[in-house]
Amino acid sequence: MDTSSPELCLLCCQIIGDYYGDFYQALFQKLTELGRCSAQQLAQSLHVPLRNVKNGLAGLVTLRLVFHCTVHDGPTTYTADLRGVYQVLRIGKLVQLAHNDHGSLAARIIETACNLKHCTLLELVDRVSRHDEATDESTIRSMVQALIADQYLINLRATHLKATSDVHREIESSMGSAVARITGTKAKIEHEEQVRLQTNQSLDTSTTEYGYCDTRGTRPTEGDQNGAVRAPQTNDMRDERLLQPNLYRVVLHAEMQGLRASATRTHGSLAAKVLVAAAKIVANPNAWTPSPVINFKTKSLQKTLVIEADHEQSDGNDVVMSNGNGSLDRDTSSVTIAQVEASLSRLAEGPYIFIEHMIEDWYIDKSAMDKYVREEELFKVLESRIPQPAPRILRILMNKGKLEERTLQELGLLGARDLKQALLEMKRLGFIDLQEIPRNAQRQPNQTVFLWFHDHERVQRYVLEGIYKSMTRLLQLLDLERTKIESTLAKIERDDVKGNEKQALGQAEYAVLSRYRKVEAWLNTEIARLDDSVAILRDVPTVTVDF
């Protein structure tokens, strides 16, 4: 994650203010301004007593919104966890996904886990059963086991509570004097790769660290040098196992939705279902373990589709309708292997070039699939802001690289005036840029070559900044709307009014409250849609440490 993004910092401050109050917001805002600092520095900057700052920081650390770094020979320092704060917006989506996949009990479990941020298995079961006395503990445990198997709940490791830069530094310091002896570019690259791999290993949620995180002081079990034990996900149901909700599932869901929408437009809904089912085989909900190219057989994919269809039917979601191509959209409960094979063949021929067929197996290149989804999302943003021929120009530049205006005109079959207007508008919005290459030292315009180009990473950052800003404005707007009817909102919190608003409030006041609820729902929906774009553009491709 780009921690230097000012708009993301503002968004995170707004989220903290909305969810946790003004004091936490002030603390967090100062932290984002100062970067890494101690409690004393914060207290001095904010002109607030040190005790209050420490209490506030303790709250933020407990809520996993701030990292702390304690060293033997220095003060404890604190860093804002922008990722952790942003994830607060995704809690509702994760709960909804768990509800869709496993039912209402799963939703309650996930909601409890999100409120607790992280907890032991025993604490989770205990908390859920306290609020849901009708459900017995064994049922809750079974559901927790299912959620762990489906990676809605993942292991917590000590490194998850530290800033990424601190984890890096610890790994480098553990390498000791070997680091000082590294010379040469190739050796440095290898060293960085080694550090990256070790960092990913230390963050890998498929392992546990009973020796470190075990609150009951049990003896650490046999494992690697870090004390990590590769515990089977579903079978290990010890009470002291530390768990946290896996918000990366929301990112995966957004990616699957993007693939589904794209494939439905190109090949119809059956092919879209086949593609999504195949992509789910490859997609790894463990954010810190990159997915390699994975193969699968048509038969196993067909079985997955039938199971999914049965699941949908049992939820009453099965609807048979036309897919717009004039043919009936069949539910996948009766899909045959031949149909799956045909769908995969069609998908592989274009434009889903990340699917390949070799003898009996099908392969999906996950990184190519991520790139495809990301580009589709970027074009979606561009097409909604500038009409043709801007997307055409962008595709040419992405395929061909840097081009002169004349070459663009020939390749794109564009008129000179239309091309110029589109180029200037795209430059103004930041989608493309212009490079000057002077032919001589005098740098005269008529002796200079002007090349238009598209810097994908920079454009992505620019688009993300715009999305963050829009999300901040929506939250601020929601806050304004809330402030307008503050007294009414306070009134409906009363025990005698709660659940009985229509009778307790006057007609006019109730109409105002209804309008506010509609506005709140609408704004939250738009924020969720923007979050889908953020998930695809920012979180999907980067399955390494810096995200």
Binding site: A261, T264, R265, T266, G268, G324, N325, A342, S345, R346, A348, E349, G350, P351, E377, F379, K380, V381, E383, S384, R385, Q388, P389, P391, R392, R395, I396, R406, Q409, G412, L413, L414, G415, A416, D418, G466, I467, K469, S470, R473, L474, Q476, L477, L480, E481, K518, V519, W522, E526, R529, L530, D532, S533
Partner: protein, 228 residues
């Protein structure tokens, strides 16, 4: 192929000065590509005034003609009268008097899209055949020309380019051959999340700050957007 008229034996060859002959031979040697006015001075190695006067004389006698380059109207190419200018100067079949004929290109794109939709899976050759059979065009266009139009449709995301595997619906196309299919136009167009909120299309978004002149509290677009 460049066209060359046979000289008429009944018409006496016009008399030319030595300099005019040099220039005429130089221009004629370039055939249909012609020669840029700036290059004439360099290659003829004659004084500029002589070159200018000679060219004027050749033009007035109709022995050579001046054609504007399609990418730069001020850039003139001189050709011998018997040659038709090459597409590299005129821009090709899609250009009319130095400008891209956008109406014609759009019309042709619509025709190609219609034929691809009818054919379900089409190659450039099948589309070109379909366009020819429909007789909507007075001039015959080659498969390469139609290929350029189909390429523009791919860039506009109206059509998907695929590789045939020779099976099923691709049976008519040799395996490995490029073919094209329409995207489903009946589906709702994809709309980015930014398009559905005022901030996504606001021209003042860069100036917007809370408490500023342009702010969420004073935003007119949001007031109208939330007015329901």
């Amino acid at each position: 192929m460049s066209k060359r008229k046979q000289p008429d034996s009944k018409v006496p060859a016009p008399s030319m000065t030595e300099q005019e002959k040099v220039l005429y031979n130089l221009i004629q040697s370039k055939q249909d590509l012609g020669i840029w006015s700036r290059d004439v001075n360099r290659e003829a190695r004659l004084p500029n005034k002589v070159v200018a006067k000679s060219l004027e004389s050749l033009l007035s006698r109709g022995l050579i003609k001046a054609v504007a380059h399609f990418q730069s109207k001020s850039r003139k190419h001189f050709l011998a009268s018997e040659f038709e200018p090459s597409p590299e100067i005129t821009g090709g079949k899609w250009y009319d008097q130095g400008s891209l004929d956008t109406e014609f290109v759009d019309f042709l794109k619509g025709q190609c899209l219609k034929h691809i939709r009818n054919l379900k899976i089409a190659t450039v050759d099948t589309v070109a055949d379909a366009v020819r059979r429909s007789r909507v065009l007075k001039v015959d266009y080659s498969s390469e020309d139609i290929g350029e139009i189909v390429g523009a449709l791919v860039l506009d995301n109206d059509v998907i380019e695929m590789r045939s595997n020779g099976l099923g619906e691709f049976a008519a196309v040799p395996a490995g051959g490029a073919c094209y299919k329409c995207r489903d136009a009946t589906k709702e167009p994809r709309v980015g999340a930014m398009a559905s909120i005022p901030c996504g299309v606001c021209p003042e978004v860069a100036r917007c700050t809370p408490g500023g002149v342009v702010s969420p509290a004073t935003c007119e677009y949001y007031s109208k957007w939330l007015d329901f």
